[in-house]
Subunit: 456 residues, 2 copies
């Protein structure tokens, strides 16, 4: 066998040769509208994955759950070898607002070297890069040097309600030495990113009801309660005008930021203007440390939706009968989503007992130690694949069910995103660069190769 | 000529005989979807009105305006006779939420003696009753004893932006001794109502913008502003938790409630349970005087719509790029809608200058003195028509452009609603009783007859 760098050169060449073929495979996957929030396209996505994985030589099963099925696959070279468990998700966000898409949301369309499609970055392009890496490695070099397991779920976009139980019930099947996830975007500087944790989330919905129907705001004005005001009055008891959360115990379990984490943050690159452009906010004016602290190490209290009364053109003079508020609250270690929900529940019961509160799902935050040797090996492989120094963050801003590895499976976990920072996941015109996709395939090959060379 | 009561008996008999024919005429009018907020059905409604009015012998013109046209008609018996100006509107509210209608919103459907259709109570059934009264009076008795003028507008449901200017420019055409309006519902006790004024309104829309697009609430959480929170933070500077408005000068011009008005309110009927049922709010628990004061003599600060982010099923994890708030603020004499808008504008400029504020229309409040002889004559005629003691209120809860008569035309104005209290105007399943419609036709005949007998 040739030495590492030579053999990886041959894999990289093969990937470039097969680019069009690999893109077509991705496009077929993207056209499946597997929107978990809308309960569609799920079975189709599973079937396609199974067929593809088996064609690559991955032994694959579609495993049912209380929700959408899991797709599990493995290539076991040697029971005693290092086992890498790769996690991803085949479900995507809803496409709305559909009218803001420049091309149909479920028809992959290339403009300026980027593929525009719902789910291309989050997470189908990244998931597909992992699978095509196995195919490329095997075709260019031969047998994998390590064991590989895959677990793809179909409910990540609705907060992975069944992943934790599935992992808890299948610990033996999933036993691994490292969990490897490619999801989310690279660093906004364009540098590759190695993430050692995620923020958690509690997603709530509050419904206030006034009268049984919308009433005329003149003939009934002042005499029936307005549910939009009721929600707003409740929100005022939950958060002050500085944005500080007033719910009892909300901040109780937050792990203090360590010196090492602060040092990591100080070492990160920062380009204010670039960030402003990438989030579409020209007035962005944070300082570097505030930015990283708020984005990765502090919780949020975000209104994701507020809907009450008339939202069309012009005026309609009504007292709405209902107001619905959707909030996603990002959590940091060691806040627990169930505990936070119970605290919110107690608060609502005290201040506005008539408002109905629903838990739409939660996810724990996670963090893996930066001191592990395997973390260094991955970082080195990522550097080699992208020919650029990776940025290493103690946490990402978003949420992934990373705690199921660190807390349930008790296995270290690293996240190496393959999507461009401006992927616009969850937004109209989501996109992934073609080069980000092929670089992702190469990166997985590098990681497998580097781990294969570890003394074990 | 027979004496008053005999001749009115013959008109009443004629109205009952012709009931089916009159209902068909109303149904044709109702099927025209003249929704001013959606700019449709306007010309069709004007044409139908003109044709009908001319068939009754009313000289009619469609008069253009900067917005929707006015339909003006007159029967001038004698330049020196008393002139009654009847006002109404041919436009209706939008039908949404359409899914809550039990029958198609623009197809009149009779259930339990009531006509269900958008606009049947507000205002087409009441407008049609006025016209059919003229037809009935002429056919049963002969020439009208007074002069009659009609003015029907097509923008009442969008706050009558052109009525005031039209009246100001056509004072001679519209010269009258009394303005008579049938709009809104009867008293909730079922008794006929004589109203001597209305609340005014300022309708505003506020738009807050965050980033240029919706951002992922995880990957961007805490680093782009949330426009829903921006609106809520602004609202908190505008109103305290007791509902008191904190906008500088908001209460400045409110005319103190007089002893006479308080006495009027004390004399009004009150049935708490019935009110609760009619507004669809089982927990309604106000006392009588609080109820009437809040409903007729105090301003409101109502949220008619709040729309931001995701409003569909399940969860979507975004920071919305936009939040839109619609508010209708009811005013009482002598609050002025332009003055109130300027005060709100100054407040927004001070507390949240980035939030865009739009004036979607305003209307002044009005009040006519209860001491006028003509008010007594109308009250007596209404009592005779409905065979029930009318309730007389200093103001109604809703808004009509009544100030154009009291302030612009300088003419006293009375409002005598013909629709049932539970007409559900502005709501799904709007309805008007068939008997309320025919009683309305009879009432206009009584009023014309009673005024014709006045010494003048």
């Amino acid at each position: 066998m040739a030495d590492g760098s030579d053999s990886l050169k041959s894999v990289e060449d093969l990937i470039e040769e097969r680019k069009e073929e690999y893109l077509e495979t991705l496009y077929s996957f993207l056209r499946i509208e597997s929107v978990s929030a809308e309960n569609r396209g799920i079975d189709e996505a599973c079937s396609m994955l199974k067929e593809l994985m088996e064609s690559i030589g991955i032994e694959t099963e579609i495993l049912p759950s209380a929700g959408n099925p899991f797709v599990y696959g493995e290539i076991i070279r040697d029971q005693s070898a290092f086992t890498l468990l790769i996690y991803g998700h085949y479900d995507v966000q809803p496409a709305d607002p559909v009218e803001e898409w420049l091309s149909p949301p479920f028809e992959p369309t290339v403009r300026d070297g980027k593929i525009y499609c719902r789910g291309v970055g989050d997470n189908k392009g990244q998931l597909m890069a992992q699978l095509l890496a196995i195919k490329s490695y095997q075709d260019a070099i031969g047998e994998l040097p390590i064991n590989i397991k895959f677990l793809f779920e179909g409910e990540e976009e609705v907060s992975s309600p069944n992943l934790s139980a599935f992992v808890a019930e299948n610990k033996e099947l999933l036993t691994a030495d490292l969990v490897y996830t490619s999801d989310g975007p690279k660093h906004d500087s364009g540098a590759p990113l190695v993430l050692l944790g995620v923020r958690g989330i509690t997603y709530i919905e509050m419904t206030a009801k006034g009268a049984d129907w919308d009433n005329h705001s003149g003939n009934k004005g002042n005499i029936v309660p307005n549910p939009a005001w009721n929600i707003i009055d409740l929100l005022n008891t939950m958060r002050d005008s500085e944005g500080r959360i007033l719910i009892d115990g909300f901040y109780d379990n937050i792990r203090p930021i360590t010196e090492k984490e602060e040092a990591l943050i100080r070492s990160l690159p920062f380009d204010r203007e670039n960030i402003g452009e990438q989030v579409g906010y020209a007035d962005f004016n944070m300082e570097k440390e505030e930015y990283y602290r708020k984005l990765t190490l502090e919780p949020t209290f975000n209104i994701a939706g507020f809907t009450s009364g008339y939202g069309g053109e012009g005026s309609k003079t009504i007292i709405p009968s209902t107001a619905v508020l959707k909030m996603d609250i990002r959590l940091v270690v060691d806040q627990d989503p169930d505990d936070i929900f119970r605290k919110i529940e107690a608060h609502v019961k005290k201040h506005a007992p008539d408002i109905e509160l629903k838990n739409l799902g939660g996810m724990k935050p996670s963090r893996t130690s930066a001191d592990l040797e395997i973390v260094d090996i991955v970082k080195t492989a990522v550097r080699a694949a992208f020919r650029q120094e990776p940025v290493m963050q103690p946490s990402m801003g978003g949420s992934l069910p990373d705690y199921v590895w660190t807390d349930v499976l008790k296995t270290p976990s690293v996240i190496v995103p393959y999507a461009n920072f401006d992927e616009a996941n969850h937004s109209p015109n989501e996109k992934m660069g073609i080069a980000d996709f092929t670089d992702g395939i190469k990166c997985t090959c590098h990681v497998i190769d580097a781990i294969g060379k570890m003394p074990f």
